[in-house]
Each structure stands twice: as C-alpha cells, then as structure tokens.
C-alpha cells in the first residue's frame, strides 16, 4: 500500500513538473533506416529466392539464393557544412529477413540537413581486419591475402549460362585489390557513399531505402554473368565494375 502511494505521488510530481520547454527549438530524435528491395520496380523478398525468375540487362535468367550487405557511417550534413557521422554499421541479411531495419542508438538533433548519406561497405579506415566480432561470427571477413577487412555485399545465386546450364555466381564486393598475397595493393576505393539528399528532420524519422538489385548488372557496365560469375574477389576489374554499377543501386523512396 505504501509503495502504491509513493508511486502515485511520484507520477503526480512528474506530471506537474512537465511544462513545455520553450527555451530552444532543438530536440534530439531517433533516425532509422528501413531497407527494401526490388528488381526494376518489382518488390523482392526472400520468398522470391531460389527460382530463376529474374532476367538481367544482358538477358541472363538468374536466381537469388543469398543476399547480405553492409552499410555504415550514416552521415548528416547541416547548412553550415558541419557533418555528424554515426559510428555504427549494419549487416542487412535479406536471406533471413535480418536487420532490414537499422536504428542506431544515437540521438540526432532536429535540423534542416542539406544531405544525409551512408557508406555501402566500410570506408578503408573502418575496414579493419578482424575488428568486429559480430561480423567475424557471421563469416563476413575477407581473406588477409586480399587485404583483410570485410565484404561489402555477398550476393549469391545461379544463372542460366550460354550452354543453358545452371551455374553459380558469387557477386561479392570488397575493397578492390591487386597482387593478392603478403603485400596486396589497392587500385582504387570501392566503398560507395550513398547520398540520399536534403532532409528536414523535426521528429523521429524512418528513411525507406530501396535497393534495385537489377542495377548491379546494368549501368554503366552491362554485366555478363558468363564472363564474371565466380572468384570475383581477387578480380579488381570486376570489383571496380561493381563499384561503378553500385552508384545507382540505392535510392530514398520515402520518409515517415
């Protein structure tokens, strides 16, 4: 009884002490990213996997069997050019409907931001070999002979090859690398900065982000799976093409 009374009192005091704070207009809110996927506009989820039901720009029929990718460093830039980067990453696992929603545990000041962006993959500074236990446990690492660090995307499936036989492909993007071995070299950066544009944030907000999977095979490089299908990690030509094709894969569909 005593306890109930004191809880009551506490709630009462809390209520009366809540007056509107008009001193400033800045408050802190949560942002989250929600990832959805389509093939040239047709929604794709894991229930569409394992069937040769997609046709890429080059005309190959293909299936998706596994699709996971990493995004990191959500960055908000305000009108004075200052930017705020959220030091967190998220492994989207479309195969298992995992982490399709990413809500970093950071509060963001409300503001009219001139741009919001995220990194597809890891920047080179964050792409530290063995550094992230959850990603190691998810077997997301890149062999040390290829520079170590982590995959950006693992997109596995099968396509009907030019001999009409089903064949596997492993569209795995990493930091492009040459001279695999003890002293690999890196021809160019291949993580992608995805700019979503200007957003005014006034309260908690969800960014609905779409990946058009077909784009990976489309612009500017029309992807021929008969040529580039497996062992693409040590192939820097393929990696740079993935980087180029990845520029228009993501778009901001809506906010809410």
């Amino acid at each position: 009884m005593n306890k109930v009374a004191s809880i009551f009192l506490f709630v009462f005091i809390t209520l009366v002490s809540c007056h509107k704070d008009n001193d400033d207009n800045v408050s802190n809110v949560n942002i989250s990213l929600h990832f959805t996927h389509n093939w040239d506009g047709i929604p794709v989820s894991n229930s569409d996997f394992n069937a040769l039901k997609f046709t890429n720009e080059n005309g190959e029929m293909l299936s998706i069997e596994r699709l996971r990718y990493l995004i990191s460093d959500i960055t908000l830039t305000n009108s004075t050019g200052e930017s705020l980067t959220i030091d967190a990453y998220n492994l989207v696992d479309v195969t298992n409907n995992g982490n399709l929603e990413f809500s970093p545990e950071v509060l963001i000041p409300t503001d009219a931001y001139t741009n919001i962006s995220f990194t597809f993959g890891f920047t080179n500074e964050k792409n530290i070999d063995a550094a992230y236990q959850d990603l190691n446990s998810a077997s997301w690492f890149v062999p040390a002979m290829l520079g170590g660090g982590y995959h950006y995307i693992q997109f596995d499936g099968k396509f009907l090859n030019s001999s009409n036989i089903e064949q596997g492909f492993n569209y795995h993007a990493i930091r492009a690398v040459d001279n695999p071995g003890a002293n690999p070299t890196f021809p160019q950066d291949t993580f992608i900065t995805v700019n979503l544009g200007a957003v005014t944030i006034t309260s908690n907000i969800v960014f609905n982000i779409e990946m058009n999977i077909a784009e990976w095979f489309k612009t500017p490089n029309i992807w021929d799976l008969n040529v580039f299908n497996q062992s693409l990690m040590p192939n820097s030509t393929a990696q740079i093409m993935m980087f180029e094709n990845g520029q228009n894969v993501f778009s901001l569909k809506s906010t809410k």
Binding site: F49, N50, E65, R66, D129, A130, Q133, D134, N136, S137, S139, F141, P143, A144, M145, L146, D156, G157, K158, I165, E166, Q167, G168, F169, N170, P180, Q230, S231, L232, M233, P234
Partner: protein, 355 residues
C-alpha cells in the same frame, strides 16, 4: 540487505531443524562460468548460455556422469559416450552408429565441441532441434539409439544410490526429472571447448607452420582454389564453421533430404550443416552419411567430384567439370593444413574423460 540475510538464515534454520530424521541438506551450487579461450574472446561473439541453466561445478559433474552412464539407455548397455567418445573428439569411428539393439541410424555421429558457440542453436545435421537442452531429450528415446523412455529413466535414476544426492547438489532438488537430466548434460557439453590445435597456437604466436601447412591455408583461403572460407571459417572465425546449411554437391538426387525435410521447402533439399573442420584427425568418416573414409576422398570430392543438382550451393565452382581440379601438391598441402586444426589436448583432456 541485513533483513534479507536474516530471512535466509531463518528459512535455512527452519529447514534444517524441520528435518529431524533424514539429514537432507540444502545445497547451493557453485557457479562455474565457461573458460573462454583467448582467440574466441578476441575474434567472435560470446557463447550462448541459457539464463535458466547457468554453468555450475555440480551441474557439470552430474552432466559428465550422465553422459558416460549407460543408465540412460533401455537395457543399460549404451551411453552417450558410446557414439560420442573423447578419443574421437566426441564422435565415433563408425559410418553409422549402432543403437542398443544393433540397429543403425542413417547419419554419421557428430563430434561435440564448441557447441555453445552455435549461435543459432540448431542442432543435428539438419538442424531439426533447437538448443542443447532440447537436443539431449532426443537420443534417449530414439529407437535407433538408446531406445529408452523418460519415465523409465527417471525412475532408474531416482532409485540409484548416488544420483538423487547429485541432483540435489546441482539443482537443489532430489526429485529427478528429464528436464534436469538434459540441463546437466547440456552444461557438461558446453564445457567441451576445443581451442588448442597447432593452428590456434600459430595464431597465438607460439607455433610456426610448415611451408606445406601455410600453403594449404592459402589454398583454403584462395577464392580461385579451395575457397573453403566462405563456409568453414578462417583465422577470424576460429570455430571453422558457419553453422549454416548448404548442399556441397555430394549427390544429384537425395535419399536424405536434410534441411528440406525439416523446413518442407524443396529449395532446402540436400542441405546439411557445415561441420567444423577442427579435429578431423579424430572424426573420420566424413559427411552426414560418413561416405568418405579419408580426407583425401573429401578433397577429391571438392576438387573433381562435385555433382550438379538444383540446390547445390552457388559457391561450388566449375561444377560441370566436377570442381576446380587442384594439383596433387595443393591437395596434399590442403590436407596438411586441415590436420593442423586438430587439437590433441582436447581429446586428452582429463576433465572430459570418464575415470
């Protein structure tokens, strides 16, 4: 705080004084957290330990006794350890293990180690059982294994001269039931940690690899050669498995549907859990049906024996030619590397042996 202690004292005093004839004591079990190896601590997520079954000295000891005790089988002839023997890294050397009446299952016994790091907690080759506690229910009543029933087992344990006391020490009750039996066994199984292979020591900087082992490791990690790391771990995932289900190209058609029979999805037919590559020196024969007697056969399979099917994993390469055709030298080196993942301290650890 004081009042709390006082309450406990009163209760304990009450319990002690109220037991005039029998001298039943109230035990509190002693916590015994898992000893997480350095490499695991550094590289991967923490093990899974259910909140309602914490590791205790008494629970582990009881689990060990039960694991080695044929009392769990219908005719007191077979223990867990018969098919999961320490010298075989807790597997056995048969292709299919005999049950108590000599009947055979259709799967190869699985080695038991680092089970607490199976984050998805899907056990058996096809992942049909969630959690170690639930797993331990299965073999006791499996007609091709211990062929017992739980009422019978509970009764035998209850009548036993030692078990009621051991359960009391471990769980604070001498009323034995199947849930407590499986909890104790699971606690023991979680202590079966293997992390002292030559390769582990190499990673810790206290052993050096031979050039052959080093080359074998490179083949394992090379996407153009073995490309084993996508499914079987690496120096950054020292479990040497992803604990995920794949079809690694063993058959064109399937007699055992594996994961497909569990999920009912034909796209899962022929998929089995990737086994850890630790302790292969002790776990022959290999694959879910023990079809390969040697590591040479396993390597030949990946190199030139792959069989096409609709569910074969897309990571399998040059399937039309049977595989990537490793050279004789590369095959030999790959084998040498694989064997460097075997942990002799694990199989000889007296904490895990029956004595």
């Amino acid at each position: 705080m004081k009042r709390w202690t006082l309450h406990i004292l009163i209760i304990v005093a009450f319990i002690i004084t109220s037991c005039s004839n029998k001298s039943v004591e109230v035990y509190t079990s002693t916590p015994s957290p898992l000893n997480i190896p350095q490499l695991f601590q550094d590289k991967i997520l923490n093990p899974v330990i259910p909140i309602d079954n914490p590791q205790t000295v008494e629970g582990i000891a009881l689990g060990k006794k039960l694991f080695f005790d044929p009392i769990l089988s219908a005719d007191n002839s077979q223990a867990c350890a018969d098919c999961h023997a320490p010298e075989n890294a807790f597997s056995d050397s048969d292709r299919f293990s005999d049950g108590i009446d000599g009947s055979l299952g259709n799967r190869n016994s699985m080695p038991l180690f680092n089970l607490a790091w199976n984050y998805d907690e899907k056990f058996f080759w096809d992942g049909n059982t969630f959690s170690l506690e639930h797993q331990a229910f299965v073999p006791v009543t499996d007609p091709t294994e211990m062929a017992s029933n739980w009422t019978q087992v509970e009764e035998k344990l209850q009548q036993h001269s030692e078990y009621p006391n051991l359960f009391n020490q471990a769980f604070g009750t001498s009323a034995i039931d199947s849930t407590l039996v499986t909890k104790a066994i699971a606690q023991f199984e979680r202590t079966l940690i293997s992390s002292n292979s030559k390769f582990d020591k190499f990673l810790l900087g206290v052993a050096t690899l031979t050039p052959e082992e080093q080359n074998g490791f490179n083949i394992f990690m090379d996407e153009n050669k073995g490309d084993c790391f996508h499914c079987h771990g690496s120096e950054n995932n020292p479990l040497w498995t992803d604990n995920i289900f794949h079809n690694n190209g063993l058959d064109n058609t399937f007699t055992d549907l594996g994961l497909g029979a569990v999920t009912g999805d034909p796209a899962d037919n022929g998929k089995f859990k990737s086994p850890s590559l630790r302790n292969l020196a002790f776990t022959a024969p290999y694959m879910h049906d023990g079809r390969f007697a040697t590591l040479e056969e396993v390597i030949n399979h990946y190199s030139e024996g792959l069989k096409q099917s609709s569910t074969i994993d897309p990571l399998m390469k040059k399937v039309a030619q049977g595989g990537v055709q490793l050279s004789v030298q590369d095959k030999a080196d790959l084998k040498t590397f694989l064997l460097s993942l075997s942990d002799y301290e694990f199989i000889n650890n007296s904490a895990f042996n029956n004595q």
